[in-house]
């Protein structure tokens, strides 16, 4: 085993709720983790924040729709700089529920980039939000 001489330890800093919220509001793409019969799965999704909830659109017959209905899920966003070995991540934990279209009046819904009809809109109501920032020393 060799040691990477270029490695500089970074400081880990817990982010405030305000900072986490601000990063969530500013993002467009995150990753949802849910559990199917074979264990946890993590997939990229695009999203919008509506009233403090993470809102995403999915296909009614997708794996996400089948296994993340009213289930405990995680939602993660991050930004990593490999050069400075720094970055941040925000983790939202909560349960999913179906959103009725009328609840989203005036909201610019996340448009999945892939072709296909994705009409099922879900929201993740956060039970816990946490974030960490790695600051180069």
């Amino acid at each position: 085993m060799t040691v990477r001489e270029s490695w500089f330890p970074s400081h880990v800093k817990d982010m405030s709720q305000k900072e986490c919220q601000s990063l969530l509001e500013g993002g467009h793409v995150g990753r949802i983790a849910f559990v199917d019969p074979d264990g946890p799965v993590v997939l990229p999704v695009n999203y919008v924040m509506v009233g403090g909830c993470v809102v995403l659109a999915t296909a009614p017959y997708s794996s996400l729709a089948r296994h993340a209905a009213s289930a405990a899920v995680s939602f993660e966003i991050d930004e990593i700089d490999e050069f400075t070995e720094s970055g941040w991540s925000v983790l939202v934990r909560g349960r999913t529920s179906i959103v009725e279209r009328h609840e989203l009046s005036g909201v610019d819904l996340p448009q999945p980039w892939a072709e296909g009809i994705r009409t099922l809109v879900r929201k993740i109501s956060p039970a816990d939000i946490s974030g960490r920032r790695l600051i180069p020393t």
Copy 2:
């Protein structure tokens, strides 16, 4: 609800195993999803590929170490271009196991960027690898 006029549907293409492997070999940072008593969690980690397995280093007393020991996990890498609304993601599903240091002789282990002692090395032995690419139309 308004419609984003700028949205262009992309084509989804399943990637070959070779393409997935190549992207995994070329990466340094991914996200591991595991399940703790409150549900799935997803966290960024850095990694190296060793003999077809995803190898990562963690702290012996971390949440990851406690809840992802010999458990079903997912590991995900992706690259997203928000401007062209395209990108790719690779998902590895498998079980974790502890790696003895001698198994990694000559391997440049992933160095966690955060300060702290991370001596527990784990590998994810892939049971399934899949990847999708979103190509702008």
